[in-house]
Amino acid sequence: MRLTDEEKAMRDGRDGPAVARAMDLLIRYGEALGAQALVETRNVCGTVTATTPFLRDFAYEKGGLDAVFSEFNLDTSEVVPTPRAKAFSSHLQLGFDPHPPVEMGVSDEIVQFYKRSEAAAARMGVQILNTCTPYQVGNVPTRGEHCAWMESSAVVYCNSVLGARTNTEGRESASSAMVTCRIPDWGFHRDEFRRGTLGVRLEMPVESVEDWGLFGYWMGEWVQDRVPVIEGVGQVPNLPRLKHFGAAASSSGGVEMFHLVGVTPEASTVEQAYGGNRPTEVRTYGAKERSETLARINMTGIDRKVDYVMLGCPHYTIEQIWEAACLLEGRKVHPDSALWIFTPRAIKEVATRNGYTQIIEAAGAKLLTDSCSAMSRAVPPGTRVAAFDSAKQAHYLPAILGVQAWFGTTSQCIDAACTGRWSGS
């Protein structure tokens, strides 16, 4: 891989041992990819905090939080002091909500450990956004901006909806980018990788959040990590719809970029979206595909008694919290069920000012931040059956926790929480 003089100086230790280890990781990673060079980035989303007993024990045994950062963020067993971030860096979601962690089955000791690690991240200069949706709360990249983001649902949003450029980074590569402002110049940083290679034609209107989740889940299973060009979009989808669409497609497959012709920034026309490529295959999505996908997502759903409803995967927008509060107002969550809604801390602040938090809490539900049930592996005690309006969460939770999952609309989910029963399909 070609390195600039600046990159060689970082590799050789000019900026200290942590930066040198970060450059070493980026070089090994770039060579694994077959990249020719690194590209400059000043926008990184990653995770640098420690939230698990495993990492706590690692810290105690190996030399504190610097040891955790060295091993898990820089891939070195040599303990080096944690450096300051050079790039604008945002923290992603974590393994629990540290504010009222009791319900999430997290001990006070782990919360105290996390708080030390959050303080260290803040000292490092990482913004404590603690969300899978940084683009909702202060980090909206410009079209063409080179980024180094983790979190598959944020990556697909960044590339497709915003037209910024990022691959799906991991903990180690994102952290290395934070302290070097570099990432391999490969994949979605390059024009040729971003062009469509196959197509989808919509044969039916795709309009609601549920519609977009189902469509995304179907599409991801088919296209895996190729770049699809979607024609036939009617009603222009808004942020929550595209958030659910991308999250579903990146869970069932590995979709990191899509083009919605006439909607997304690199797809003003079909020709622009393909950029000279000829589609290898074009499929249609209609009522049959939709109902088969719904059946597949609901394959673990057997019992209709619902113990738990989770909303906010990816983290809810203020619009979705408003909608949930309207649906919940004057109702109560069933005594045998529970409702947890997850959102970024900054949006919870707005929800509280708008009175939504009070409505949600008065109904016996919770508005939580920083995490989700899949990240935290936490659900209310005794949960056997759960319901979601997110295809991504319905995909992951049965695998992670062995629960049965129902997928449906936000309204069906809130009805399930208030009646204790699933009445959707």
């Binding site: 694994a32 983790m150 980074e169 180690e172 673990t300």
Partner: protein
């Protein structure tokens, strides 16, 4: 070892090193976070053909990675817990699989002259010499 069938595949080094072990082969992409459990080195994804099977110490032969960006972190923890694969052979390059294999420090290869998924079967003994770019597959006669 007379009578054993020996097959040689050539490819590109992804992570340097030499290792050998029993092959675990899947034609389905693997999810990291939410797809595997690093505590015991098993696949946990619903509907995955390897669900419940362990990749610890095996030569994992698979098309590529999919799913969450927690891919590398899961396999990084697997290395520290001693449950990571001994070596990796895959077809489809992505940032997930590149970083994930790099942080396990286990030899990895891709860009093969023969698709390993068409040649290697679960249970074959496989030696991966990533430095030389050579995979040697040994299958007991009649197996």
């Amino acid at each position: 070892m007379t009578g054993d069938e020996i097959i040689t595949i050539r490819g590109r080094k992804v992570v340097p090193g030499v290792a050998e072990g029993e092959a675990l082969v899947t034609t389905q992409a693997i999810s990291g976070w939410g797809g595997v459990d690093p505590r015991n080195g098993t696949v946990v994804e619903m509907r995955h053909e390897l669900r419940g099977q362990s990749f610890a110490g095996k030569v994992l032969v698979f098309p590529g990675a999919k799913g969450s960006s927690g891919w590398s972190a899961q396999f990084h923890v697997a290395r520290l817990m001693g449950t990571a694969p001994a070596a990796w052979l895959f077809n489809q390059m992505t940032t997930k699989v590149a970083l994930g294999t790099v942080v396990t420090h286990a030899p990895a290869m891709t860009d093969f002259d023969i698709d390993p998924l068409t040649v290697i079967r679960t249970g074959d003994w496989v030696r991966v010499d990533a430095d030389a770019g050579v995979v040697t597959v040994r299958r007991a006669c009649g197996a």
